[in-house]
Subunit: 331 residues, 2 copies
Amino acid sequence: MSTFKQIVLASRPKGAVVAGNFRLEDAPVPSLADGQVLVRNHYLSLDPYMRGRMEDAKSYSAPQVIGEVMIGGTVGEVVESKNPKFAVGDKVVGMLGWAEMGVSDGVMLRKVDTSHIPLSAYLGAVGMPGMTAWYGLTQIMQPKAGETIVVSAASGAVGSVVGQLAKLRGVRAVGIAGGPEKCAYVVNELGFDACIDYKAGNLIADLAAATPDGIDAIFENVGGEIFDACIARMNPFGRIALCGMIAGYNGEPMALNNVRTFLTMRLSLRGFIVAEHMDLWPEGLKELGTLVATGKLKFRESVAQGLASAPEAFIGLLKGKNFGKQLVKLV
Amino acid sequence: MSTFKQIVLASRPKGAVVAGNFRLEDAPVPSLADGQVLVRNHYLSLDPYMRGRMEDAKSYSAPQVIGEVMIGGTVGEVVESKNPKFAVGDKVVGMLGWAEMGVSDGVMLRKVDTSHIPLSAYLGAVGMPGMTAWYGLTQIMQPKAGETIVVSAASGAVGSVVGQLAKLRGVRAVGIAGGPEKCAYVVNELGFDACIDYKAGNLIADLAAATPDGIDAIFENVGGEIFDACIARMNPFGRIALCGMIAGYNGEPMALNNVRTFLTMRLSLRGFIVAEHMDLWPEGLKELGTLVATGKLKFRESVAQGLASAPEAFIGLLKGKNFGKQLVKLV
């Protein structure tokens, strides 16, 4: 194989992302310099944060450059190595982007053990999404046994882990998801105490019924009306981990109306990016890896086949069409 | 004197507070039981939190009961005592309400030293408002030297202390106040680095000019558009102490539009009530008392004369007509 496929950002979205914002290209397989590793990617991770990178706006990281390979987490196998720390055949997790292959200097590449944990899980429950859940729950929400938390996008890669970790700590976990199928999964498979279908049109009443003792902490992935409805039910000294606002990624207004509740209930809110807290990853990944390996932490994957399917899969993710962690299978 | 004047809540406001929501009454001077103290109040403190108590809404404290004496902080002098801890002539601070006299069992009454600190200051810079400023600054905003903070209602009893404490810590302090007279006072008398007149109609541009390096922490007393404009200029990891939202106390919409910034800038926000943190009062009051006694912490008072003037003074406070700490002189 002398070339491989990759996808670059062709243009910035105007409103919703469209397939034409991406371009599939052939790239030559490079020759390695000393210290470099060539990786054949097996799975690409699709995550909501990528939507933010497509904008040319002030945010926590630089925008994706037009014409360059789209950023993305990957797992794969080393196929050539001029780095003594990596051998051919090693399974690795890295950030090699929307591409079938990638070259790394080894700094951001991590060998993983697939004897008890599937390779793809390192992009989900035992990877960045799992750590996002773990950080928000343990560092910001800090629920005590018997308290009630609410998790939006509860069937997703992050939300599903938040609720399961909470249940393991004796916390009442209430999810919010779109549609009866996802809600059934959240309750019956993941073990949440309840799940509210925000598409059913009774968000406020359903939320009240599912949180009879109010809400002590929120893990927020969505923003907008759903977030506002949750804030209105917060108990004194409630904590909010603000992880994402996917409802507003196309520029939709995301106003919060229940701001007064932050004062009257003495709430705390913190926005966070898990990549800024790498010091806690070893502790978090240890718990997450053990739980996955022992079957105590469940996850579900939506797998698109082939790199060319990535744009449509990503557009679907932004609309909530995925069910669980969205991956693209590359081999 | 066999009777004294007191003001009770006559009715709850429908929108803005009006004088008719209060009723001036005569009350008999009571006979003391064992352990009780009779206090002649010298000053009544008027504070924005009282507006919240007038509502019959879920909040951090029970609503003011109709027909009962309005809640309020007071300083005064013991005129009769059946409590061994208090002697006639003692100067005391307490919560004896909108009344010329009051009876206390001594539990919530505190003797104060007026040899270096004026009695009225115990209702302001060395009292609840000063502690509110101290708590928000030192426990939530935690600015480092060289950082920039913004304080709304900067000429008020709380905001004026926030900025002065910040300046003593080497922090750039930018105030927001209504009108050129208040702004001149904030800069020239209190020593803030800049003050923005929100009534001048250039809030966003003026804020940008006064905070060229962005904003690292906010002390929020007002809410609404002013708060939103400040959030838009926050630096990464900015902290927000949410103390009050006086712009919305009559039920005005207080929506925040810049919610996405909480995520992109990884902001922290916490609403707080200083009365819930009594453990820190000794430390805070020690600093505040020393600064007032040595002239390093300045304050200004708006003094209304006589209990009957309290309703109009309170209505003025809610409209920003006061200049500094609003008091009512009772003797």
